[in-house]
Subunit: 321 residues, 2 copies
């Protein structure tokens, strides 16, 4: 079979011809039809991901056919017994265990969930990691409800876009931020009420005034701007943090946190039940994942480059015919 | 009647002879037998409290007799309709409305709660503000359970000591920090399992190792040390922040927050139901508030000085015979 292989940090991912995998105990073979890239796939190539193992097939997101059924794959490996947080043996599909950037994958049978009928394989492959992360932070952690005002930072990324779509689907009032005006405009076309470019001066004051303050904020930047997000919160607001692309949090007023009774939730990925719920939610609300671009396995280098550039709006898909 | 009066910022609180108050609508007269100081009383004298009004009798905490019944006073004024956070008209007894540093106070009847039978007036007066703040942050926000490991920073302050006592009462494993070794020793005498002096190098590493990590942390310092508190958290830990004596939060790793699925709750004071629950909890568990010292109204300047010094261990009481 064709497969992409992680050779070593700072070396390109290589397309290789490998024997198809053997089914292990409780496992079943899946013919992957589409996969999707995540930031972690790029971080691996830079040596910036823990527990790297050479010779592994990367890829956390995938959809395909198994035993005649169209399925998408739950990327959790060994979440553990506590729904609140993953256990010590938790990993994500695609490192250190083989992932979805191949024609075939042998995987535990309980990782398979029926593909939503309204989605193509490409669209379904966009869902798992980003959809799960968005679902947990937005609903399980921040408990977003219809009619509430929610700010989603860095729209354009996979998680942020799903958060945007999920929030719109339940009838929340969505605002976004981005460093690119065109991404804000695209989000508004999708149904967001407004947005602001965080490269402009006073962006947070403008957004605060326009919205009247937020009940929920979903962020993956952290950094020096985190305090500005908090300054836009209504009393009792919930803030979900699922990443930290801008590094350490600084200059945050504790007074703002305790006086406004704010709640800050760290969140990443989600448990197996949340995965099931997320796929069901996508089916129920007929959500169509935003796809930035589709590449073949042969074009993997281009796909990785696009992911690395940060210029995408939506998921980057690998189509595996 | 005798009463302490706030004249203006940077002027001493004065003892005056005033007419006893008239009962307003739905109000009832309370003969105050004991009151307690809080940091806010000192901040007012420094002009560091919002909405200062000259000529007001300060004091948030009080216990006394009303209509023949021994009562303690709920210091919430107009919490509002949402149990999650106080509304716009919320204030705390003792500024801008007259408080407990006087022989008599006229107050809304629904502010009175029966004094726990096992407590003296002095001990009961220690409870309201600090006990309510500790109860909400520890139980309503951080959901502390028996057997869990909890770290309480800055032990010696009123809220921290109640948090310590409440946590011990339900069977949690309590650790403390302080800048003074003798306060840590006192907390250990009370039942705490261990503690560390945050002025020593590597205090957080030592405490992390001794405890194996915390499920709950209760803090009112914030500042540059907040990230060190987070570094001692077990996955899924809850952190309650009810103050910010060390100023802005800096150098906090977002990775720690999202990867360990931490929950950070801002909290201050508590709603009326929590006040009732707190007093009931104190009765049920026969908790005896820690009293640092007792002064008369005539000795108010000494009491304020002691509060300002930060040298106290427990509440500073004004006895009003």
């Amino acid at each position: 079979m064709k497969a992409l292989v992680f050779k070593a940090p700072h070396q390109p991912i290589e397309l290789e011809e490998l024997p198809a995998p053997q089914e292990g105990e409780n496992e079943v073979l899946v013919r992957i039809h589409a996969a999707a890239l995540n930031h972690r796939d790029v971080w691996m190539t830079k040596g910036l991901y823990p527990g790297l193992k050479e010779g592994v097939i990367p890829g956390s997101d995938g959809a395909g056919i198994s035993e005649g059924k169209a399925v998408i794959l739950n990327p959790n490996v060994n979440w553990g017994t506590d729904p609140g947080y993953f256990g010590r043996n938790y990993t994500i599909l695609g490192m250190p265990t083989n992932g979805t950037f191949a024609e075939y994958l042998s995987i535990q049978r309980d990782r398979l969930v029926e593909k939503p009928a309204h989605l193509s394989y490409e669209a379904a492959a966009a869902l798992p990691l980003a959809g799960l992360t968005a679902y947990r932070v937005l609903f399980s952690k921040c408990r977003l409800r219809a009619g509430e005002k929610v700010l989603i930072s860095g729209v354009g990324g996979g998680v942020a876009l799903f958060a945007c779509q999920f929030a719109l689907a339940i009838g929340a009032e969505v605002y976004v931020t981005s460093g690119a005006d065109w991404k804000i405009e695209k989000a508004i076309e999708m149904g967001a009420k407004g947005g602001a470019n965080y490269r402009h001066d006073d962006w947070h004051k403008i957004l605060h005034k326009a919205s009247g303050g937020f009940q929920v904020i979903i962020d993956s930047a952290a950094g020096d701007g985190f305090g500005q997000l908090l300054s836009m919160c209504q009393p009792g607001a919930r803030i979900g943090l699922y990443g930290g692309t801008r590094g350490n949090i600084n200059k945050v007023s504790p007074h703002l946190i305790f006086w406004r009774q704010l709640e800050i939730y760290g969140s990443t990925m989600g448990n197996d039940q949340e995965f099931q719920e997320m796929v069901h939610f996508v089916s129920e609300h007929k959500i169509e994942p935003v796809i930035d671009s589709v590449f073949s396995l042969e074009e993997a280098a281009l796909a990785y480059e696009k992911m690395n550039s940060g210029a995408q709006f939506g998921k980057i898909i690998l189509k595996i015919d």
